[in-house]
């Protein structure tokens, strides 16, 4: 199955492509509503500002086909900002509406620790996970963000602790998302991507 990468201009999409290539997966960059609507499996990468992502999704008319695709149940993986976009809104751009696939709001991490939360951190496992299958419980993943989904739902399969606990991995049917960057997380990250490819079938 070919993985469709949503290319919204921001985000380091090349790193994700290289990571998928190393696993032998086929991917294509798309930026049109038609291509999103016909995708078999979608990946929403993310680096940058919440506002940039949401504005591009709105302006390029990608919001509706993206939400439809996720609700239709095709395999979906959101990375970093791609996780945050699933929620109702974010304090990073309070005037904008998120994709509203999940309830709740993305918030600034508490300033009791240095921000951005930048570097390698470990997970706190909450539920059985398909993405984390075969990965050591004490494995490190690379994070680079200041905002996070603090409120955990039943879809939260792993959290991370930095100032407070926040959602690090979520899975709901075929919808998956991670706050860290699997494409930058060495062997453990590659395993997460390989597990997603298995979800894709």
């Amino acid at each position: 199955m070919r993985i469709t990468l949503l290319d919204y201009g921001a985000g380091n999409i090349a790193s994700v492509e290289w990571a998928l290539q190393r696993l032998g997966a086929e991917s294509q960059r798309v930026a049109t509503p038609e291509c999103v609507a016909t995708a078999e499996a979608l990946l929403l990468p993310g680096v940058g500002h919440f506002e940039t992502l949401i504005r591009v999704l709105n302006e390029q008319k990608l919001r509706t086909p993206l939400c439809d695709a996720i609700r239709r149940g095709i395999p979906f993986l959101g990375i970093c900002l791609g996780l945050q976009a699933l929620y109702n809104a974010s304090d990073e751009a309070p005037e904008l509406t998120g994709l509203q696939v999940l309830p709740g709001r993305v918030r600034l991490l508490p300033p009791i620790a240095k921000l951005p939360h930048m570097g390698w951190n470990r997970l706190v496992l909450k539920n059985q996970s398909r993405l984390l299958e075969g990965i050591d419980a004490d494995a490190y993943f690379y994070f680079a963000h200041s905002y996070a989904a603090i409120e955990q739902g039943e879809e939260t399969v792993a959290a991370c602790s930095y100032g407070t606990e926040f959602v690090a991995v979520l899975e709901k049917d075929n919808m998956c998302a991670v706050q860290f960057h699997p494409e930058k997380s060495g062997e453990a990250g590659a395993r997460v991507l390989r597990n997603f490819l298995r979800v894709c079938g």
Partner: protein
């Protein structure tokens, strides 16, 4: 649970070759960038920094090609810089495969460059690189590859840089760089204890004890070195095992 302290090899690049020198002068060839990238990725480096030391307009396409070649080999974050003068330059470096950019001389000349790039690419993508030299009882910022003084206090400049949107500070002690006499603990701690973002210490590393000291007493979130890694004087795996044995949280390679 705490964030692992990072060990970061740095490739000083002139066009498509890695070079090295002492106190910013006397450069000599130290290898192929992507060959070194493959090695560091495998040996458990937490991140890689690639700096274009020539930073000339003429060599830009070669440097971007070097970033592409290096980034394609890495499953860890890549920071690239040297000669970034505009958001346009920054975009080219990020699109070539870097996750973060470093700003140095151009940010001193025009501090708004920090806010422009931070707003566009996010604070997590903007690293303010400060080359500092001890002068009396303070550290002054040096620019143009360490040749000129900017007449700025390094700690004050770090504070201003963070206020403008820098997401990380890379501080290089020019007094220690290339001397292998250890990191400048006072300089690094001085900056790290005043700013709210992560600080990478650079310049002077030789022994595992130097890394342990800068990551504890020096309050560094990450430590960077070049030649001791390139020349295999200090294997990264052994360094991390040394740090781990002293209770410093590090990501041990499989």
């Amino acid at each position: 649970m705490s964030l692992a302290r990072r060990i970061i090899p740095c490739l000083d690049v002139d066009g498509d070759r890695v070079v090295k020198g002492v106190n910013f002068i006397g450069l000599r060839d130290a290898g192929d960038p992507s060959t070194l990238a493959v090695r560091y990725n495998r040996e458990g480096a937490d991140e890689l920094v690639v700096l274009d030391i020539a930073a000339s307009r003429d060599h830009r396409p070669t440097f971007l090609e070097t970033i592409r070649r290096v980034a394609g080999e890495l499953a860890i974050p890549l920071t690239a810089g040297g000669g970034i003068r505009s958001a346009e330059d920054a975009r080219a470096v990020l699109r070539a495969g870097a996750d973060k950019i470093t700003l140095n001389t151009a940010a001193v000349a025009r501090p708004e460059l920090i806010s422009e790039t931070s707003l566009e690419f996010g604070a997590q993508a903007v690293v303010l690189a400060i080359d500092a030299k001890k002068h009396g009882d303070q550290w002054v910022v040096m620019v143009r590859g360490g040749r000129d003084s900017a007449n700025l206090d390094a700690i004050a400049w770090a504070i201003q840089g963070v206020a403008l949107g820098a997401g990380e500070i890379l501080v290089t002690s020019m007094d220690r760089d290339g001397t292998k006499s250890g990191f400048d603990t006072a300089l690094t701690a001085g900056i790290s204890s005043t700013v709210s973002v992560p600080v990478i210490a650079s310049g002077g590393a030789r022994l595992p004890e130097h890394f342990a000291e800068i990551l504890t007493g020096g309050r560094a979130d990450a430590a960077l070195a070049a030649s001791i890694f390139h020349d295999r004087i200090q294997p990264i795996r052994e360094l991390k095992e040394f740090l781990s044995a002293r209770g410093i949280p590090v990501r041990l390679p499989c």
